[in-house]
């Protein structure tokens, strides 16, 4: 620790940021992709059609299917295909349980025209990517929450110390000076942090609030006592949605759902129904709650509550039920961005990418700063320095490559393979692992100076990354029926956007690789000008 306030803050920022930097990069990138989780789901299940029937037709077939699958259920839940989060008609049911235990539950995706259940290839989809950013996939969830929580805490510390050590926040607001080595990386790191500072703060802080009851279990204990029962009681009270109705145990026919839906739509406008929740269908005391789409970060919908047997409107419940809970929910809602329309969703995505790039720039800055001194050492760079250089490659290039591999696996694994969705994930992590060891293996196979190994690893992996994303549209065209040409002619914007994003990622990776290659060649042969650089063979370079 150094003396002086700014120096000590700088020390905390540098080392605190470094130790959790790679995990934070992982969390930020997978979380950012989570803003388009449903869209990625749809890309990864190309069999599902995007056409949907009218609301009346959807409700009719959903009710018929529920009647067939789950008569006498405790609860039916219909999500009509009216919003971004739910592009496909979905039904859910819960049977009555015995002795206080939860009954059997089930859910199905339905064709909204015919009511036939639709099946698609087994895949984790975008959902799995999104869940990875707090559950880290292989680990038990509580352990993962703690790891993520500690890393987020470090992130919060890094943000605050970062603001303290940044000398000229306003004067250097727009400053980026390229081609100046360390200076440029610092500029880039600062720029990416400052321009999206409100986002970084919000996302980190609210991320911590998500698992606050895991991190601070004593908060519950103080009013509810210890033990699992006390916890359960607390969550029951916190999350109980509506006052519970008891069944009358008298049979009655369910009144027309589409009439109730029409009533809700006349109030809210068309395509505004998020869900229809039916408790005790077929009973005289059945209740039907119709919830509206989300329009604000408050994670609850206003609801219309009907008497399901008569179709009479009983209650018009506002979304806001408790102010303290709303404070928490708004923070979580801001984090999730479920209320965001397409424009705001892109802004969220973009801010997330800025955060991801900021972390990457910070990690690269760490090594760039220390490289000259480390390279001048007589016995070569320290083990620690080499480790950081390799881990940087392993995560900053490894994760995007691993995600590309995940997409490739989705298209290439046999549709009938039983452990399909598990293996998609295994392939993601295997790729990540292989890339993490790439510089190490490379230096064993081809003896070179340390810095050349690192630089060439960057260049080669960037080329691989470029090809991995560049060929995805082609792979999609070959293996599915939704080819590039078909997407364009049928105005299938979802698939067109994916093709464009893959292409852009590929071009960026390719251009970066080419630029790094030129820089490296200029360093090795400073006399050669850029016009005949291509004539230098790789062999020459590696000697």
């Amino acid at each position: 620790m150094k003396s002086g306030f700014r120096q000590s803050m700088s020390w905390v920022h540098t080392w605190g940021g470094l130790v959790v930097g790679w995990i934070l990069f992982f969390i930020f990138l997978t979380g950012t992709l989570g803003y388009f989780d449903t869209e990625i789901d749809r890309w990864m299940k190309p069999e599902l059609s995007s056409a949907n029937a009218s609301l009346t037709q959807s409700l009719r077939v959903a009710e018929a299917r529920l009647q067939q699958q789950a008569p006498g259920a405790k609860r039916w839940f219909i999500s009509p295909p009216t919003n971004r989060d739910n592009p496909q008609l979905r039904i859910f049911w819960e049977m009555p349980g015995e002795d206080g235990k939860r009954g059997i539950i089930g859910n199905e995706l339905l064709d909204s025209f015919t009511g036939e259940p639709v099946t698609a290839r087994a895949t984790g989809g975008g959902r799995a990517l999104y869940e990875m950013h707090y559950a880290l996939h292989y680990l038990p969830s509580t352990l993962a929450y703690w790891i993520v929580g500690i890393c987020s805490m470090f992130m919060l510390v890094a943000i605050i110390t970062g603001v303290i050590i940044h000398k000229k926040i306003f004067k250097d607001f727009f400053t980026f000076r390229p081609k100046k080595g360390q200076r440029s990386w610092l500029d880039m790191h600062n720029l990416l942090s400052v321009i999206a500072l409100p986002f970084h703060l919000m996302i980190t802080y609210s991320g911590l609030i998500f698992f606050v009851f895991t991190y601070m279990p004593l908060v519950i204990t103080s009013s509810y006592g210890t033990g699992a029962d006390a916890q359960e009681k607390f969550f029951d009270e916190l999350f109980s949605e509506t006052e519970k109705v008891q069944p009358a145990n008298l049979p009655a026919n369910l009144s027309s759902l589409s009439n109730m839906a029409t009533m809700a739509e006349t109030h809210w406008g068309s395509n505004q129904i998020r869900y229809i929740d039916i408790s005790y269908p077929g009973d005289a005391n059945t209740r039907v709650s119709i919830g509206r789409n989300l329009h604000s970060p408050l994670r609850a919908s206003p609801e219309f509550i009907f008497n399901g047997a008569t179709g009479e409107l009983l209650n018009n419940k506002a979304a806001l039920t408790s102010a303290p809970r709303a404070v928490r929910d708004v923070l979580l809602g801001l984090h999730e961005g479920l209320f965001a329309d397409l424009g705001l969703r892109w802004l969220y995505f973009f801010s997330g990418l800025i955060g991801t790039a900021m972390i990457a720039a910070g990690l690269i800055l760490w090594v760039t700063k220390r490289r000259p001194q480390q390279l001048s050492k007589s016995q070569g760079p320290d083990f620690g320095h080499r480790l950081v250089e390799s881990l940087n490659i392993g995560m900053i290039l490894g994760l995007p490559l691993a995600i590309a591999a995940y997409f490739w696996a989705n298209r290439l694994l046999d549709v009938n393979f039983s452990a399909r969705s598990e293996w998609e994930m295994h392939i993601l992590f295997i790729t990540l692992l292989v890339v993490a060891f790439y510089p190490f293996t490379r230096s064993r196979l081809v003896k070179q100076t340390f810095i050349n190994t690192i630089q060439l690893s960057w260049i080669e992996l960037l080329w691989i990354l470029s090809f991995a994303y560049g060929f995805l549209p082609l792979l999609n065209t070959i293996t599915t029926e939704r080819s590039v040409f078909k997407s364009i002619t049928t105005h299938d914007w979802l698939f067109i956007s994916f093709d464009i994003i893959f292409f852009v990622t590929s071009v960026i990776a390719g251009l970066t690789a080419r630029k790094m290659q030129k820089n490296l060649q200029q360093r090795v042969h400073p006399s050669v000008n850029s016009s005949n650089i291509k004539s230098i063979s790789r062999q020459e370079l590696t000697q």
Binding site: F174, T175, P178, L191, L192, I195, S296, G343, L347
Partner: protein
């Protein structure tokens, strides 16, 4: 949203012009006087207020501010990246957003 983006962009641009380094990147032949700094800074704040107004009108107060933060990040990022490479593009985008806003009000 395009209107709000245009206003946010112009606000960022005004702030950038008010800073000496970026003024020289944008208009290399001219000199920046202290008086100008003040004018551009005030202009930046006024435009920022207008863009807050635009996004709040579109999305309501809470969500509008969220949208504004996102727009501001995007606009500032664009300007900061273009400054060293192509200052003329910045002015180009600025003028087209001016035209866009003008048409909007008519």
């Amino acid at each position: 949203m395009l209107l709000a983006l245009g206003l946010t962009y112009l606000s960022c641009l005004a702030f950038a012009i008010s800073l000496k380094r970026h003024f020289h990147q944008l208009f290399s032949s001219h000199r920046l006087f202290r008086k100008h700094t003040f004018i551009f800074k005030s202009l930046g704040w006024i435009l920022l207020a207008l863009s807050i107004n635009a996004s709040v009108q579109l999305y309501g107060f809470a969500t509008g501010l969220v949208v504004l933060c996102g727009l501001f990040s995007a606009a500032a990022f664009l300007i900061a990246l273009l400054l060293p490479y192509s200052p003329r593009t910045i002015i180009g985008i600025g003028s087209s957003s001016l035209v866009l806003i003008f048409i909007w009000f008519i």
